[in-house]
Each structure stands twice: as C-alpha cells, then as structure tokens.
C-alpha cells in the first residue's frame, strides 16, 4: 500500500513541476529572450525611451494611490459587513463581487458611460472642472475599481471567523476605536490583509483592459506600462514591447520576493516569541 501511494505522490509532484515549467517558466524565459533579441545596448535604449519612463512613473503613481485607497476602503467595508448586522448587508456583500466578476473591458466601458462626454456624471464634472477620463484620475479610478474586491474579500471571512470578542474586551478596558483597531484587530487580520494588498498591487500594476479604454492611450501622458507595451507591440516594435514587459515581470518578481521575505521574518518572529 505504501509503495503505491508514493508513486502517485511522485507523479503529482512531477505534474506540478511540469505545470510550473510550461505556464510560468517558459513565458518568463521567452520574455527575457525576446527582449534581448536586438542586443543589450538596444534593450537599455528601449528602457530609456521617454515613453517608457513616463509609463513607469504613471504605473507607480497609480499603484501608490489605488492600492492604499482600496486597502482602507476594503478594511472599512469588511469591518462593516463582518461585525455588524444591518439591512442590505447581504446585498452589499454581493455588490462587492461585481468588479471581480465583470470583465475589465466591461468595467472600462461602464466607467466611460458614467464619466464620458455623454455620461451621467459629466455635467457635474464639467461644472467642477474635473477631468477624469483620458487623464490620470480615470486610470486610477479604473484600476481601483477592478481591484476593489481583493482586500475586502480576503478580510470578510477572516473577520467574521475571528469574531468580535477581542475588540469588545479592548473597549471594556477603555480602548477607543483607533487603539482597538491598531492593537487588536489589525494584528489578527495581518496575513489576510497583506495577501489582499499584494493581490491588489499586482493587479493594479498589470491592469490592461479597463485602463486601456479609459486612458485614451496617450503616449507619454496616459499610457501605463501595460498600455505602453500594447502600443509598442501594435506598432510592430516587438522587441521594445518585450523589453518593457520584462520590466513588468521584474515588478511582479519584486512583489513576490517581498511577500516571501516578510513571511520569513514573521516565522522567525513567531519562533523567538514562543521560546520565552
């Protein structure tokens, strides 16, 4: 009996490696190979192109604004849904799923319908002199919209399971809202929150569908890295496109490494605490 099960085990492990190799390593290797097809000198010059720089800056700015925004809103929403009972709670919980379930292209179109020149909110925006579409705010909004559920979805079941009693204990001991949140709630949801933030970040950086529709694809102005890549690719500039793609890949790898590193630190931390 034992022998047979270990054979199956090995088979599964082999399949897993194969999967990783084909779906992850191969594309990564391809991106690297194609980006260097014109030689390393050109690789650098594609990276230095003004369009590339502004795409990188725009992508970073978008992430720097959209990710914390979604984190805060996600926590607030998860708190409300997990810890309170109110009418429409279930509806709200379902509504959160919408950006998740909808294709990013559809999300982009929805945003255009609301903020576009014939959109519902257009008169208000014009009156306030605000530009949303075809400008950075629209990109940030679209990116935040499609990634909105990630943090909330991670936290809601987590918070529901953890329950309220620790928070209640804290307030009976005199802690105010913020003290309770930071000393009691946050440490307990740390991992779920962190994971949600990483997912959000990765998705914001790589978001294409919705952003490409709302951005107007203006080179040097509203082209994020993914949009810029598509722009290059559509202009027959394959090698340049792959070069920028390798940058995106690098960003993704950095995120992964960060996650790994912090997990490691936490594990060490746990060990040291337990010893005393």
């Amino acid at each position: 009996m034992k022998k047979r099960s270990s054979a199956v085990g090995y088979l599964l492990i082999l399949l897993a490696f194969l999967f990783v190799a084909v779906f992850i390593l191969l594309p990564v290797a391809t991106v690297v190979k194609e980006s260097l097809a014109d030689g390393f000198g050109n690789y650098l010059s594609y990276l230095k192109a003004p369009g590339a720089k502004s795409a990188l800056i725009l992508t970073v700015i978008t992430a720097v604004i959209a990710v914390p925004l979604n984190t805060i809103f996600g926590i607030m929403l998860a708190w409300a849904i997990a810890k309170y009972r109110f009418r429409g709670r279930r509806l709200l919980s379902m509504a959160i799923e919408i950006p998740y379930a909808v294709s990013p292209v559809v999300a982009g179109l929805m945003i255009v319908m609301v903020f576009g020149s014939t959109g519902l909110l257009r008169p208000l925006l014009d009156a306030l002199g605000l530009k949303v579409l075809f400008a950075a705010p629209g990109i940030i909004f679209a990116s935040a919209f499609v990634t909105f559920p990630y943090v909330a979805k991670e936290l809601i079941p987590l918070m529901s399971e953890i329950g309220n009693s620790e928070e209640e204990a804290a307030v009976t001991l005199g802690a105010g809202f913020f003290r309770t949140f930071f000393s009691v709630t946050l440490p307990n949801i740390k991992w779920g929150l962190f994971y949600g933030i990483i997912l959000t970040n990765a998705r914001v950086i790589g978001e294409f569908g919705a952003v490409s529709i709302v951005s107007g694809k203006m080179l040097g102005k509203t082209a994020t890295l993914p949009v810029y890549i598509e722009l290059l690719y559509s202009n027959y500039e394959y090698v340049a496109a792959f070069t920028i793609a390798s940058v995106l890949m690098l960003l993704a790898l950095v995120t992964l490494v960060q996650k790994f590193y912090i997990e490691l630190k936490e594990r060490k931390h746990l060990k040291s605490r337990g010893a005393s």
Binding site: E166, T172, S183, S276
Partner: protein, 360 residues
C-alpha cells in the same frame, strides 16, 4: 458601587429579549443573572456593560445615568466565556493593556505598569508565564489571565459572562472557588451570568432568575431555593420531583387528572424498609454515588403510568437500604412538599404530619 436597572427593554424585530427589567445590584456583592439560554441574561449584562444599548430604560451607576456613557468610560471589568485574550500579545501585555490605554495624566509610567502586572501575575499564581504567548496556555490559565487583565484597571464593577462555561468540571470548580475568595477579599461589586444553577447557588449573594426576558424571582440563594415563587423557579433551581396530584387530609395524593402540582426536593424524600401509613412502594432502579450522598432513581408502583422519583440520601443510609430491600422494593414518603394550586397560582408548604423516624 451600586447599580440600578430601570425598566430596561430591548427587542430584535418582533422578538422581545428584555421586557421591562427592574433590578438593584448591591455594592460589594456577587449577583448572579441565572436563566436558560434565550432568557436575556447575557443581553442584560451587555447592556449594563455598555456593549449593547437598550431600546428604552436606564442604567444607573451610583445614581448616575450611564445611558449616554460609552463602554470605554464606564469603568467596568468584563470577562468573556471564550476568554477573548489578545492573541497577538503575551500574558503580560494582555494584563497591561488596560493601563497602556489610559491617556495623559491617568496613564501610569512603564515602571508602574510592569509592577502592577507583576502583582497581578502573583495574584493569579502565574508568575513565570508573563512572557508566554496566550495560545500556549490552558483554559483555566487563560481565564485567570482574563481576570487579571480585567482587574488591572481597578474597575468599579466586574461583569462575568459565563466565565467558566468553556472549562472542564474540575477546573471550573477550582476557578469558581478562587473567584469567590478573590471577590470576598477585594469586595468588588460583581455580576455574573450563568445557566448553571449549581454554580449560582454556590457563590452568589443574590440570584436574579430570568426567563424569556422577564425576572421570575430575585433573592438570596436560600430564598429562591427554599421559597420559589413559581414552578419555573422551583424546577430551574436544583432538582425537583414534580407530580400532578392533590392534598387529602394532609397527605399528598398522586393524581394524574389533577391540574395542581406537587413539588418535592430529592433530599426531602424519605425511604424506609417498612411500610407506614401513606407510604408508596417504590422500586430501586439505579443509584449514583456522589461521595457523601447518593442519588437514587426509583420507580413508583401503583401508578397508572410509571413515575420516576429521584431521591437524595445520606450514603450510609443508602447502603443499609440497599442491603435490606426485598426485591429492590422500599417505601417512600416525603418529609416536606410544596403544593402548587393552578387556581391561586400559589405554593403552600406541607410537613409530614406523623412523626416518622428512620426505622430500618
């Protein structure tokens, strides 16, 4: 500190959870809110704490209306059934929490805090576990830490929500006794919620019995046990044998068709090897040895449907009965019973008329 509960009402939708509660909580005493699940006892405790708000009514601490005062400022210590210790902190950090939260002038220095924590750790006899993470403690240890944590801020009142519910029997008993002694020493006003009537009878100075959001009776343990005001209280506290019947010339007559009820405590049952006037023959079915006394389950003969009776006897007496019983039959009567009239909704007490001795 005294607490006054004035006409507290609370409903969830159409369900009435608290239907007009009025109570006085005495200073320095242990008052227990006792009742079955759904009786509203926990809700009442949480309303007093400020963790929940009532729809109407007032809570007064020493005469001050607490209705608008948030839970943080009520100066209470609360203990939860599931301990609610802060998972991400050590034992010491848990205990110190309430002190670290204080603001401005009220906040003690770090030295003072760590001194206080040491004292409390000694009080709960967990001196060496200060740096331990809380998930490494046993249930009993956790609850003691929770107690220390609650007491660290020197609350005016201690509120306990079924604090021993999650512990096993022996630990529960130990902790119960510990709490009792501690409370006597500190003299802190304490309100405890429990569904365990034994626990309530053991440590309370006063018991408030709740059922479906209303107070059934309030009084000392002796009062509610010996003079219950209605059948619910009677049967909730301690074991009781209940029969339908009537009183005939001072004797209890068991009668299925009667609307009235006869209540007899197990320890008020007298068993004999010889038959006396008015005795009922009974068959010994089973017995449970509880150390000094034995609880015996008997089945009454002469009844249309079988009636089981639970008797509580001195162990020595039991042993003799058991040995001398012919075919497991003994003769049963009651030293004392209460008769509840359905009509008047009142209890009346009956003592055994004849002088009756244990003649084995």
């Amino acid at each position: 500190m005294t607490i006054a509960v004035e006409d507290i009402r609370k409903s969830y939708g159409s369900t009435v959870v608290l239907g007009g509660i009025n109570a006085e909580i005495e200073e320095g005493k242990i008052t227990t809110l006792l009742g079955p699940s759904g009786s509203g006892k926990t809700t009442l405790l949480r309303v007093i704490a400020g963790l929940e708000t009532a729809d109407s009514g007032k809570i007064l601490f020493d005469g001050n209306d607490m209705t608008k005062v948030p839970v943080q400022k009520r100066g209470i210590g609360f203990m939860f059934q599931n301990y609610a210790l802060f998972q991400n902190m050590t034992v010491s950090e848990n205990i110190a929490f309430g002190l670290t939260v204080k603001k401005g002038a009220d906040r003690p220095s770090d030295e003072q805090i760590s001194k206080k924590v040491k004292e409390l750790l000694a009080m709960i006899k967990l001196e060496s576990l200060g740096g331990r993470r809380v998930d490494q403690l046993s249930g009993g240890q956790k609850q003691r830490v929770a107690l220390a944590r609650a007491l660290a801020v020197e609350p005016r009142i201690l509120l306990l929500d079924e604090p021993f519910g999650a512990l096993d029997a022996k630990v529960r008993e130990e902790l119960r006794t510990y709490l009792l002694h501690l409370q006597r020493k500190l003299g802190i006003t304490t309100i405890m919620v429990t569904h365990d009537q034994e626990e309530a009878l053991e440590i309370s100075d006063r018991i408030i019995i709740l059922n479906h959001g209303r107070i059934e009776q309030a009084g000392s343990p002796d009062e509610v046990y010996d003079t219950p005001e209605n059948p619910f209280v009677f049967s909730f506290l301690g074991h009781v044998n209940i029969f339908r019947g009537r009183v005939d010339d001072g004797f209890a007559v068991l009668d299925e068709k009667s609307h009235d009820q006869i209540f007899i405590r197990p320890h008020e049952i007298r068993l004999s090897l010889r038959r006396h006037q008015g005795d009922v023959p009974a068959l010994i079915r089973s017995s449970r040895n509880l150390g000094f006394h034995t609880v015996v389950s008997l089945e009454l003969e002469n009844q249309e449907s079988s009636s089981y009776v639970t008797a509580d006897l001195d162990r020595t007496v039991w042993l003799q009965l058991r040995e001398g019983a012919v075919n497991g039959t003994v003769y049963l009567n009651f030293a004392h019973f209460k008769f509840y009239s359905e009509q008047t909704k009142k209890f009346s007490d009956y003592e055994l008329k004849t002088k009756w001795s244990y003649s084995i």
